[in-house]
Amino acid sequence: MDTDTPALRDLERMAATIRCDIIRMIHRAGAGHPGGALSAADLVTALYFRVMRLDPRNPSWPARDRFILSKGHACPVLYAALARRGYFPLSELDTLRQLGSRLQGHPDMLKTPGIDMTAGSLGQGLSAGLGMALAARVKGLDIHVYVLVGDGEVQEGQVWEAAMAATKWQTANLVALLDCNRLQNDGEVAGIMPVEPLAAKWQAFGWEVREIDGHNMREIVETLEDVRDHAVRPTAILAHTTKGCGVSFMENVPGWHGRAPNDEEAERALCELRRRLDG
């Protein structure tokens, strides 16, 4: 293993730090989506601090790996990761959703250094990722494309159009990372519009399917690295996660999909997360 690659323990600490950033950002902005940002924190940390080939000093490096946050409402997790990785100053996280900020309410590739694709209208990111994977083939670039998709998001038919097409072209460099937190805006995915059996669906579309615990850093890293190095066809990683993970009173509560914590809630959340960081 590369001596520069951070150890699992360091990645776990970074994920906890990013969770603190998420709470602070959304609290300060007074609006945002903490639940889905917290559920994706370990996945995004593994990608940005270990798995993806990047150069924060050169965000538009053509040979970089690409990441698309198709569930764009979770963008505080991405902004925190980018800032912690050195794409822009940490202090800028305080500007989330404010007038004139480079940190929009959903990811904007023209405004934020390090954002590879504008996203936020659900169901569209996997198509864009497929386009990137195909373009890499045309341009002779050896890059990997990671698309983070929500489990509720696969209710959008376009996701399955993209899944079908990726199999046609056998884009082994395309990874769909599903943040399976089982909740969506209006309630439980299973009740709003059931998407299961998810693994069987992706398999039926011709994808390699892996299932992991989306909060187990060892499992996340080992799976992502194995897929990166050995995939022969498009891969869907079903990451089972907890919405609001890390903040007890947010966990598995649909109401925390899209509301900001007040002062007292933010302080309680940060206390819990700091204990995790110190522990």
Binding site: P62, R66, I68, D108, M109, L110, D116, M117, T118, G120, S121, Q124, G125, S127, A128, G129, L130, G131, M132, A133, L134, A135, A136, R137, V138, K139, L141, G157, Q158, E161, A162, M164, A165, W169
Partner: protein, 320 residues
């Protein structure tokens, strides 16, 4: 006009994009199961590694084109106007226009040209929808020659372009000496009494109408306003000042297309009598293209009648 050679602009597009791809390795072509209809299947045979047929899935195709553009390709997305502008409207807006990506959308079957297919395949709202998107360039060339030039101009123009094409053959109006510039109207003839500002296949009909009116003693100018957005506002104002009356002609709904765009300019900068020829508040029906134009009052006779109307209204401009 009857003795002029005719050619569908969709075929001119398919030929031009092949020539372009031969010169530029970043040009790729995306199809959605109408490659045979648009003849873009020839591109697939010539450049098999740079053609992608997405099947009947325009939304995926449009967003994939966006992804390709982020990696430095110039995707030409080929489908019909109804699907490009409506089925995949939000993909065009959010994934292409918002990030200002270099995607070129070639939309065949514009207006009533797919006449017999009926309403489902007649793209009559597309220009209004595309015009409303920030940063979108919207073009409908009048003939095969200007279509070929428009393909090269679109490729050289950074950012999204919507290029509308006809299913049916339309008269070839220009020779290769044509200077085609995005956003600059082409003056086909100067006039004294009124100017017809037309777009796409209606340009040939505007010339026909001007010929008819000449026999009746009216000198009518014709402008080929191939670029709906950004509109050549200066050309509109010049025509209004020079002739004092304007008729617009478009194979499109009257709500939000060329007529609306010209009315906006005239209203703000140079109010003169205006009459708009296009499809009213109705859906059309199946039938041959030319017969539909007659039934829905969009023929050269209707354009000529509209000119007579605006000329008669010249002395009745609202004061102020």
């Amino acid at each position: 006009m009857a003795d002029m050679p005719t050619y569908p602009t969709r075929y001119a597009y398919a030929e031009a994009v092949q020539e372009l791809a031969a010169a530029n390795p970043d040009v790729v072509l995306l199809n959605a199961d109408v490659a045979k209809s648009m003849r873009t299947n020839e591109f697939a045979e010539r450049f098999p590694d740079r053609e992608f047929n997405f099947g009947i899935a325009e939304q995926n195709m449009m967003a994939a084109a966006a992804g390709m553009a982020t990696v430095g390709l110039i995707p030409f997305v080929s489908t019909y106007a109804v699907f490009a502008s409506m089925r995949a409207c939000e993909q065009v807006r959010t994934m292409i226009c918002y990030p200002r990506l270099n995607v070129k959308i070639a939309a065949s079957h514009g207006g009533l040209t797919p006449g017999q297919d009926g309403v489902t395949h007649q793209g009559l709202e597309d220009m209004a929808l595309m015009r409303s998107l920030a940063g979108m360039t919207v073009i409908q060339p009048a003939d095969a020659t200007s279509t070929r030039k428009a393909v090269w101009a679109a490729a050289a123009h950074p950012g999204p372009v919507y290029l509308r094409l006809t299913r049916d053959p339309v008269p070839v109006l220009y020779d290769d000496s044509l200077q085609f510039e995005i956003g600059r109207a082409i003056t086909l003839r100067d006039g004294e009494d009124a100017t017809i500002i037309a777009i796409g296949d209606m340009v040939a009909l505007a010339v026909e109408a001007a010929d008819m009116l000449e026999a009746e003693g009216l000198e009518v100018g014709v402008l080929d306003m191939h670029t709906l957005k950004p509109l050549d506002e200066a050309a509109v104002v010049r025509a209004a000042r020079a002739t004092g009356a304007i008729v617009t002609a478009e194979n499109h709904t009257l709500f939000g297309g060329l007529g609306s765009a010209v009315a906006e300019v005239l209203g703000e900068q140079c109010p003169v009598p205006l009459s708009r020829v296009g499809l009213g508040n109705t859906f059309a029906e199946s039938g041959p293209y030319r017969e539909l134009l007659v039934k829905y009052r969009m023929s050269s006779v209707d354009i000529a009648a509209a000119v007579q109307t605006v000329v008669s209204r010249k002395d009745r401009v609202c004061s102020g």
